[in-house]
């Protein structure tokens, strides 16, 4: 006999029938059903297959601890794997699939592993296959492939997730997690005290244990009516109620991560995110997370039809589903009496085996009155039936699980209760260790430390519903006192509320029987595996966990962990508290990566940074490239030109005539104040104290450790105003560095810095005819050599098609040609571009892009981030002359360290291939001729296709530098591409080494 729908009862809506697919066969249930309750009502027993032995698995619980009914939902790109059927709501068209089985969970060929199970003890695969071949061999990799497939969980979709997810930020005074009687009482009390309250419930219904028949009647009325009344009170006080929302992680300072499942239960989901990741910052957190019933281990306790005792009444009371006509319950504690009464009340033939001889008389009397057959001092020993329970052997129980004799009781389902484990996962996330409580035979949290957290109800080890409600109410009021600063003392620890003490049972043994008892049914960990782990020397619980994989299945030990600990304690001869417990970490239940990512996909909301001249570049058909944070103009193709041809042409035009390049991406910082000069003099390695107004200077900035940090020019606009430029890549880093110095190291300096990178658009006009372009462009700036010398700075106006615009200009050169940088307010930048472009065209010039600019600077031996790579000193780059010996500056002292002053450090050289057609790559390792092993002499840092030199050229660092290698041939080795190119070492100034062109 199998499960079936009861003619009446339950909180399902019998008028709303819902069809769904189970392994491609249509089934139906009612609104309010979970996949598990609907399948149970349809008489389906085998829902899953275990991980290793492929033993059939049925529904074992009615909650998050589910270890048997693990399924996949939906198909194709929306497939979700390893879902607990007990937590998934049915909705029209839902597709549910069994996992880890072929061809189906009912007829699974992998079950051959079960026949061979005595060979498959903990560590079997590793011992066997590593032993044969050794790890890392190709044979092991073949075995591993097969093993991993056999031990498959669900198969995840390999397609992009088509759904949207969102991240929501929330604040509240009090977050209550869990909506059972204690949580509802706490939330209502806190909201009633005027606090802003959020109540989060992982289920789709409010009520927790009140829905399952466990709590019995409350305040003399039906439990669900009591819940509805509390909920109404909470909402009336302004409380927010979130169902289908799991608090999966507790973080510092009252931050809680929650996942709300928005559309998985809806057929119509258009426009909604599938899930919401809610980040709540709460003043206080009340954890009313309840407790999870734990089984004890007995023979064949993994058979479909064996479930937790409370789950049987949850199916009867909440879903109107009987797990079978005849149910045997086996318990060691008081909680199962309410369960038994609920089953008997629904007309099921109910037998209750209590391992204890002393019964809780009041509860027993109620159960007997409902028709329950109670047998004191007995316990379930062994289950009969392969794909479904047919009977159970009930033995005489003495103590600690030791049973003798026994009667066979025919039944369809077995409910087992070995006690209750408070759900303390969230507080454990904060490193708060639970302590062992002998009276409850479980771990509890006594003191949440400094965390703004209160545990109430079953989560605190309290098991009488009236006491839980009182404690919840007190916790809600206490939260108000704490937040208002009027709390006198923390709440007292509650007592358990049991009538008779629990009789600890972890594993049943019987002198006449060899029992196969499961601790972690999903991962097929048996009690023998735990003992084997101990015999093989794994005495720490953390090691035992990893060796047996106990607690590492998708339920993360919610069902079996405590049993495993108890067995380990027994094996080592220690107590459970001495044995310790493993640490819970987020997430409490699985969280989809999509929800954590939310909208942070693709470009992650990063702004696309274009320079203010974008429209002009686009008008000219410019091709852009990503460079750091920026979209930069790369080259301006003419005709059918590609990158290489266009860049070469642009370089030739600059060297022979004139070109113009967008330099708006440079970092720009205003440095102002009475101490600005002294400040710059300290942060640059070269002198700035005597830079006159109207002049610019190239400066080198070092880190504290003496390595070069950044370079750029700084323009002195007045006695107290400097305009600093930085490299594009380091714009933010330099700003941070200067701010740090001014706010923490030298707060006495009267200097103000302002980032103006986005405020100014800039163009560099470069080439022998640069003056032809600029002469006459500005009515108030004279560009003649006498009036505007090299490194001069001038401010004035530029005539454009929108009128005269303010500009400032400095005569400086990155290309090695005579050149000026011209800056204007960013909004005028397109007008400046048009004005200078028109003059440029008259002079026969062209705009050039990043590729040509890079070639020009490589030809000239100017350094960029590829050379300022965080490992190089000024001297390494031939810039030793920029390190002042007369003044103090940042980095000076540690630059004197012997290692940085060594003569044989790799230094900057130019590289030209011996064969003019040869091409070599940046990153190649440079070796003396005939060698290609080891670290070599150095590496190639930059390369360029140089029309000026007539071949590919490079910059690189070579041990010994020019002094040792100039004119000699070395080898650029690129082992990745198996490429070897002979290159001649030359001066890095491969073009115009004396600088005559830019000064002229």
């Amino acid at each position: 006999m199998k499960g079936y729908r009861l003619p009446e009862g339950g909180r399902i809506d019998r008028s709303a029938r819902i069809s769904f697919h189970w392994d491609e066969v249509v089934h139906s249930g009612f609104k309010g059903d979970t996949v598990a309750s609907a399948l149970l009502a349809s008489g389906e027993w085998v829902i899953g297959r275990s991980f290793k032995y492929h033993r059939p698995r049925g529904i074992m619980s009615a909650g998050v601890e589910e270890s048997g009914a693990i399924v996949s939902l939906w198909s194709g790109e929306r497939r979700v794997t390893n879902v607990k059927a007990t937590m998934a709501e049915i909705c029209p068209g839902l597709e549910v699939f069994g996992q880890n089985a072929w061809p189906s969970v009912r007829r699974d060929f992998g079950a051959i592993n079960d026949v061979l199970s005595r060979f498959f003890a903990a560590g079997f695969y590793y011992k066997t296959f590593f032993g044969i071949t050794g790890r890392g061999t190709s044979e092991w990799m073949v075995f591993e492939e097969v093993i991993r497939r056999a031990a498959g969980m669900g198969r995840a979709s390999d397609q992009p997730d088509p759904d949207d997810y969102e991240v929501v930020h929330d604040h509240c005074d009090v977050l209550v997690v869990g909506s059972g009687p204690s949580g509802l009482a706490a939330a209502e009390a806190a909201a009633g005290a005027g606090l802003d309250v959020i109540l989060a419930e992982q289920d789709f219904e409010i009520g927790g244990s009140a829905l399952t028949g466990l709590s019995g009647d409350i305040d003399g009325g039906a439990a669900d009516a009591w819940c509805a009344s509390r909920l109404a009170g909470l909402v009336a006080s302004g409380g927010r109620v979130w169902t289908r929302t799991t608090a999966f992680g507790l973080y510092d300072h009252g931050v809680v991560g929650l996942i709300e499942r928005v559309t998985d239960h809806r057929a119509d989901a258009a426009g909604l995110p599938r899930e919401r990741f809610r980040i709540v910052r709460a003043g206080r957190i009340i954890l009313a997370t309840g407790a999870i019933e734990r089984p004890f281990a007995f023979g064949n306790n993994d058979r479909p039809g064996v479930m937790l005792a409370a789950a049987t009444s949850a199916y009867v009371t909440r879903f109107g589903v009987a797990p079978g006509e005849r149910v045997v319950l086996s318990t060691n504690n008081d909680s199962t009496y309410g369960v038994a009464a609920a089953l008997a009340g629904a007309g099921l033939q109910t037998t209750l085996l209590d391992a204890r001889s002393d019964l809780p008389e009041a509860a027993a009397e109620t159960a007997r009155a409902a028709g329950v057959d109670i047998r004191a001092g007995t316990i379930a020993v062994d289950v009969q039936g392969r794909t479904g329970v047919t009977s159970v052997l009930a033995g005489r129980h003495s103590a600690g699980g030791q049973a003798t004799g026994g009667d066979r009781i025919d039944c369809d389902a077995i409910g087992v209760s070995g006690g209750w484990t408070p759900v303390m996962n969230l507080i454990s996330h904060k490193g708060i260790r639970p302590v062992w409580n002998e009276d409850l035979a479980s771990f509890v949290v006594d003191d949440p430390g400094i965390e703004p957290v209160t545990l109430v109800g079953a989560a605190a080890g309290q098991f009488s519903t009236p006491a839980c409600i009182a404690a919840g109410h007190a916790a809600g009021e206490d939260a108000a006192k704490v937040l208002k600063g009027s709390r006198a003392a923390p709440l007292p620890r509650p007592d358990s509320g049991w009538q008779q003490p629990i009789a600890p049972v972890w594993e049943v043994s019987h002198p006449d029987r060899k029992l196969k008892c499961f601790v972690d049914p999903q991962h097929d960990v048996t009690t023998s595996d735990v003992r084997l782990a101990h015999r093989e020397g794994y005495v720490s619980v953390e090691h035992m966990k990893r060796y047996t994989t106990l607690g590492m299945a998708t339920d993360q030990g919610k069902m079996g962990n405590v049993i495993g600990l108890a067995l380990m304690a027994e094996a080592t001869g220690k107590t459970i508290p001495e044995t310790g417990t493993t640490t819970f970490r987020p997430p409490y239940t699985p969280v989809s990566i999509g929800a954590l990512a939310g909208d942070e996909r693709g470009t992650h909301w990063r702004p696309t940074r274009h320079t203010p001249m974008r429209s002009e570049h686009e008008r000219l058909g410019c091709v852009f490239t990503d460079a750091g944070f920026w979209r930069r103009s790369w080259y301006y193709p003419q005709g059918g030109e590609g990158l290489a041809d266009a860049a070469r042409r642009e370089v030739v035009v600059v060297r022979s005539g004139v070109g113009m390049v967008d330099v708006s991406t440079l970092g720009k910082i205003m440095v102002q104040g009475p101490d600005a000069t002294e400040f710059l003099n300290r942060v640059y390695s070269n002198p700035f104290a005597k830079l006159p107004v109207g002049k610019a200077r190239y400066g080198l900035m070092l880190r504290d450790d003496g390595i070069v940090f950044d370079d750029g020019t700084t323009w002195r606009l007045s006695e107290t105003d400097y305009f600093m430029t930085t490299t594009t890549a380091n714009a933010g880093g330099v700003m941070l560095h200067l701010a740090n110095l001014l706010q923490t190291r030298w707060p006495e300096m009267r200097v103000h810095i302002t980032s103006v990178s986005d405020h100014w658009g800039g163009l560099a006009v470069a080439g022998p005819k640069a003056r032809d372009v600029l002469d006459g462009a500005c009515p108030d700036i004279d560009f003649s050599d006498d009036a505007f010398p090299f490194m001069g700075v001038r401010q004035g106006h530029l005539t454009t098609d929108v009128g005269e615009i303010p500009v400032m200009s400095a005569r400086l050169s990155f290309s090695g040609e005579q050149a000026w940088e011209v800056m204007c307010p960013a909004d005028y930048a397109p007008a400046m571009f048009r004005a200078l472009e028109a003059r440029l065209r008259e002079a026969g010039g062209v705009p050039y892009g990043l590729e040509a600019m890079d070639c020009l600077r490589v030809e000239k031996g100017h350094v960029t981030g590829r050379e300022l790579n965080g490992q190089t000193t000024a001297a390494d780059m031939g810039l030793g002359g920029m390190v002042s010996k007369k003044k103090d500056f940042i980095g000076k002292v540690l630059l004197g360290r012997p290692e940085l002053a060594r003569e044989d450090r790799p230094t900057l050289v130019g590289l030209v291939p011996v064969s003019p057609n040869a091409r070599f790559k940046a990153g190649s390792i440079l070796f003396p001729p005939g060698e290609r092993e080891g670290h070599g002499l150095g590496h190639v840092s930059s390369i360029a296709d140089s029309p000026t030199v007539g071949s590919w050229i490079g910059l690189g660092f070579v041990t010994g530098g020019l002094a040792e290698w100039e004119g000699k041939v070395i080898s650029a080795e690129n082992p990745v591409d198996d490429q070897s190119v002979s290159v001649r070492v030359v001066s890095p100034h491969m073009f115009d080494p004396d600088g005559g062109r830019m000064h002229g």
Binding site: H253, I450, D704, L736, Q743, V893
Partner: protein, 94 residues
Amino acid sequence: MIRIRCPFCGLRDHSEFTYEGDATVTYPALDASEDAWFDAVFLRDNPRGPHREYWRHVGGCGAFIEVTRDTVTHEITETKLAHPGMAKTVESGT
């Protein structure tokens, strides 16, 4: 996630801040000895318990903030502006 009280902007998530190092380090004068600079740049204590450190409110006002944080519990007992002059001005409310 920890939350840091910025003296200008109020209580904010730490994702708005960047960690800017140990606030107990006193940087020596620019002409101090190599040993003094070596200590300041490379040597750090790794204390268990309260510790002073700099955070910059980069997603807000940009201020450097000196935070006293317990490295075990993450409890933050004090935040103030790193710049003593600005800190004084903010405290006095003028």
